[in-house]
């Protein structure tokens, strides 16, 4: 009995706050329900590009005729991963996408390659002064001794040339070694850019995605792109005949571009 009194006192002590609460709600009792759930990380698209500059060259010497110069931009990639660990160490390369979900809002994406428009002052390939966006499509020439510092080169606008409809900058894509494209992507594309502001699709994901992915799903596509353009032909001996020419060319921007979803 003494034990029962003690227990009753204990219950009273425990119940006191509840009774105060209950007294303000006359004639009713309540229980608070709570829950904790973990939300899966959301998927975020990634673009990777390990090449900050691409140099185009030719093994042949220039003799006045149009000369094709080429160079490779390696490991341009498109994929997605969980946003909390976006590409754990540039995930597209490291093969470590993390668990994620699109939350039923799947957005397809592609990478577009665009020659950036720029303004300033320069000389066009025809010798005209230009200040417009055309500068963005210009390769500006200078010449000097092979191997010497570029700062020592002498500008030679007579050798300037531009991207145009007849002299396109072409990008020819192929899957990077060991990084074949997942089926949700078309293979790295090929195309041409013919002016500043012009663009082409480099890597496209046009569908085939699920809502949720487990870790290391690695839904991605990584390609190498061969850039190519012709140095213009000339009639007349260039000022730097017998020497080396360097051309400062355009900036090519690789950007994520959402693909419009079909109407439901």
């Amino acid at each position: 009995m003494k034990q029962s009194k003690k227990l009753g006192a204990g219950l009273l002590a425990l119940a006191l706050p509840t009774m105060i609460f209950a007294m303000s709600s006359v004639g009713a009792n309540a229980a608070t329900v709570s829950s904790t759930v973990d939300a899966i990380d959301k998927c975020v698209w990634e673009i990777s590009n390990n090449t900050v500059s691409t140099s185009l060259t030719s093994t042949e010497k220039y003799v006045g005729d149009a000369l094709t110069v080429t160079g490779t931009l390696s490991s341009l990639g498109l994929g997605f991963t969980g946003s909390l660990a976006p590409g754990t160490g540039t995930g597209l390369d490291a093969n470590t996408s993390t668990e994620c979900s699109f939350y039923n809002n799947i957005q397809n994406n592609k990478i577009t390659a665009t020659v950036l428009s720029q303004t300033g002052t320069a000389v066009s390939e025809t010798g005209a002064a230009i200040t417009t966006q055309e500068i963005g499509q210009l390769f500006q020439a200078s010449y000097g001794t092979s191997g010497a510092e570029l700062a020592t080169y002498t500008p030679d606008s007579d050798m300037n040339f531009e991207i145009s409809t007849t002299r396109a900058l072409t990008l020819t894509g192929s899957a990077s070694a060991g990084k074949a494209c997942n089926g949700a992507f078309t293979s790295p594309g090929s195309g041409s850019i013919t002016s500043a502001g012009g663009s082409m699709d480099a890597i496209v994901n046009s569908g085939g995605l699920s809502n949720t992915y487990a870790g290391a799903a690695n839904i991605r596509c990584t390609g190498d792109f061969l850039l190519s353009i012709d140095v213009k032909a000339v009639t007349g001996v260039p000022a730097g005949a017998g020497m080396s020419y360097s051309f400062t060319g355009p900036e090519v921007v690789f950007a994520l571009s959402p693909i419009a979803q079909p109407a439901q």
Partner: protein, 247 residues
């Protein structure tokens, strides 16, 4: 309802660091494109002329009032060769090396001419130093100063006219102001590969070296003041000139 609010608050708390991460993630990346090329050297024509003085000989024969042929003991090499701007003078050998060169689509041919620059004949001086007008003579169509092309010319036929064949092996020079073409190019390519020991047209050395012998007759009918003595004949300066017209 409260459970919903609790879950919503949890999302907000969870989402805040996500937004920061997303903002730091680049939506675009870029590459700067540059190009570099090496240019071949410029093609240059180089002239060859091996003699600064030419002595004609009668080969021991004496003038007797008839035509007396004078000719050159040694051959005269006149020609032109194509090399790069970094080459020196053209080599005398048929397959000497040059480096690659280009006209950069402004192709120049070559023409080498011979002309008389000071006089169109010979003056005669006798053994006491007197100039004898009666022993001097001027050139004529019948008695020109002839540059006779020898058979062993070093001309690369795809690229040069065969002067010997077209002029019956003699290039006459008669009067002041006249000139005769001794080397003339044809169909010179824009790019010339270095000469090598390979007799394909593309690598054949583009060069024409003509070997000439000069001859002229002391005409008949001249009457010396001092017969029985030696006369010195002083002749013209033969100017060898090169032009490089557009082709």
């Amino acid at each position: 309802m409260k459970a919903t609010k609790t879950l919503g608050a949890g999302f907000i708390a969870l989402a805040t660091p996500l937004l920061v991460l997303a903002a730091a993630m680049p939506a675009a990346q870029a590459t700067d494109v540059t190009a570099s090329i090496n240019l071949t050297s410029t093609c240059q024509w180089k002239i060859a002329n091996t003699a600064s003085a030419i002595v004609l000989s009668s080969n021991g024969k004496k003038y007797q009032g008839d035509d007396l042929a004078l000719s050159q003991d040694t051959t005269l090499t006149v020609g032109a060769g194509l090399g790069s701007s970094t080459d020196g003078s053209i080599p005398s050998s048929y397959l000497g090396s040059t480096t690659d060169c280009s006209f950069f689509n402004n192709i120049k041919g070559v023409e080498v001419t011979a002309s008389l620059s000071n006089q169109a004949g010979f003056t005669a001086t006798n053994n006491v130093g007197d100039v004898e007008g009666g022993m001097g003579f001027t050139f004529s169509a019948a008695n020109p100063l002839n540059l006779e092309v020898l058979s062993d010319t070093f001309c690369n036929s795809p690229y040069f006219d065969d002067v010997a064949a077209s002029t019956n092996q003699e290039v006459p020079v008669v009067a002041l102001g006249d000139y005769s073409v001794v080397v003339k190019s044809k169909s010179i390519p824009n790019f010339v590969e270095a000469g090598v020991a390979d007799y394909t047209a593309a690598k054949y050395k583009i060069q024409c070296l003509q070997q000439f012998q000069i001859n002229v007759n002391i005409p008949s009918g001249l009457i010396p003041v001092k017969p029985g003595t030696a006369y010195e004949f002083s002749g013209p300066v033969i100017l060898i000139a090169m032009t490089t017209p557009d082709q």
